[in-house]
Symmetry: C2
Amino acid sequence: MTNKASDNINIWLTQINNDFKAAVSVDCVIFGYDNDALKILVGQCDMPPYEHEFSLLGDIVRPDETTDDAAKRVLYHKTGFTDVFLEQVQVFSALKRHPLGRVITVAYYSLIEIDENHLLHLEKNPKIAWINVDEITSLAFDHFEIMHSCLKKMQKQIRERPIGFNLLPEKFSLLQLQCLYEVVLNIKLDKRNFRRKLNALGILKDIGEIQESVSHRPARLYNFDKSVYEKMKKTGFNFDL
Amino acid sequence: MTNKASDNINIWLTQINNDFKAAVSVDCVIFGYDNDALKILVGQCDMPPYEHEFSLLGDIVRPDETTDDAAKRVLYHKTGFTDVFLEQVQVFSALKRHPLGRVITVAYYSLIEIDENHLLHLEKNPKIAWINVDEITSLAFDHFEIMHSCLKKMQKQIRERPIGFNLLPEKFSLLQLQCLYEVVLNIKLDKRNFRRKLNALGILKDIGEIQESVSHRPARLYNFDKSVYEKMKKTGFNFDL
DNA sequence: CCAAAAGTGTTATATTTACACCCATGC
DNA sequence: GCATGGGTGTAAATATAACACTTTTGG
């Protein structure tokens, strides 16, 4: 090693261990779908000057975890779920974004099914609530901007990969799936064309069951085919609806 | 504010200012196109145990700059360019990714035109060189993985937005543009279909000039239309080739 | 029998693909 | 005159978009 090189390393060591450190956090935009509305899970913010705003759920990244680990930890702690769909979106690093000091945050979004278990979990956390995405006008910190960029990314990805299923119960009808896409993308879809398209993708499995105790003709229920899903999650598809 | 809330804030303050800080860096995958090959700009790594490897160009994010600022600073310093196309890709935060300590890095990619000015600039930095993307088998740190994920994102984006032009000189022929896409995406394209498609997009402007001193019929030269470009950079397009 | 959602095909239009020859220039 | 890339159109196949009625169940 030349002197020059060891000089460089000493400069780096100083920077890494002293001068240039920052706190790194994760913030999660947790999407759920309920009552035909797209929602996100938020907490009551208790930090001035945002005491009366909602904020995204997040935490500081600890020395012994990756940002993915931290996001999973936040998700488990706040929702009770492990193994949820989780996607890194973007770093937000504006200098004054956090009132207590420099905090660089990594935004994630995830998709979960709002089921009974989860609602039981929520009762233990009274400061956490689901709010409709289209009713949000502001959030604490730069969280509105973060939410917006995660929403855009999710809307893009739901057209390219079969991830919408993560928001639905295991068994679902075709109309449920169509409504999900209509709400998430804020578009109107043609029933027949939608069904043809999904059929062509071959990702749905008719499980031979039908809806019960509905006051109309019961719909067939579907699963989605795990193996096709795993393939398409990687390769993607063109889901122009 | 309740006691609980101020407790929380004190915990946060401690975490932000002491316990949980990390160094944050940016690493840039700088793409260029030359001699019908896609290249990236790399530096000779002088940090053990990677002394004989190339590494991406990057630096620690300073306390007074955003990650975007840091990436632009690296780009200006290493290439001589300001106002280059720059896109944030992904955070890499594996615990042992850097031998000198915990460094969380934000990956960026950018597209630049390898022109005369830039080559002059490079002569002042003898440790920096262009290497062909398809000849890279390893890089220092986790930079191969970073390069790979930036390449994938760039290949995806070049089909959705008219960003390919950033790699070409201001005036270019249609065949040059087609070759660029073929090399970047590693596919073969049909000349007539490619031209029809670009025509339909309306992003090219025939500048009324032709190639000079080529030993075949000279090609028309094109600009790309800035205003259409700016619109499409935001809205995107479908550039299925 | 009424309300409510389920389910089902066809036609027109637009998009994509495949493909082959003559043209202008430098040497 | 020959080598090199420049430039052009058409037809077939595929994908998309628009559209309305009958069926099944619960009350």
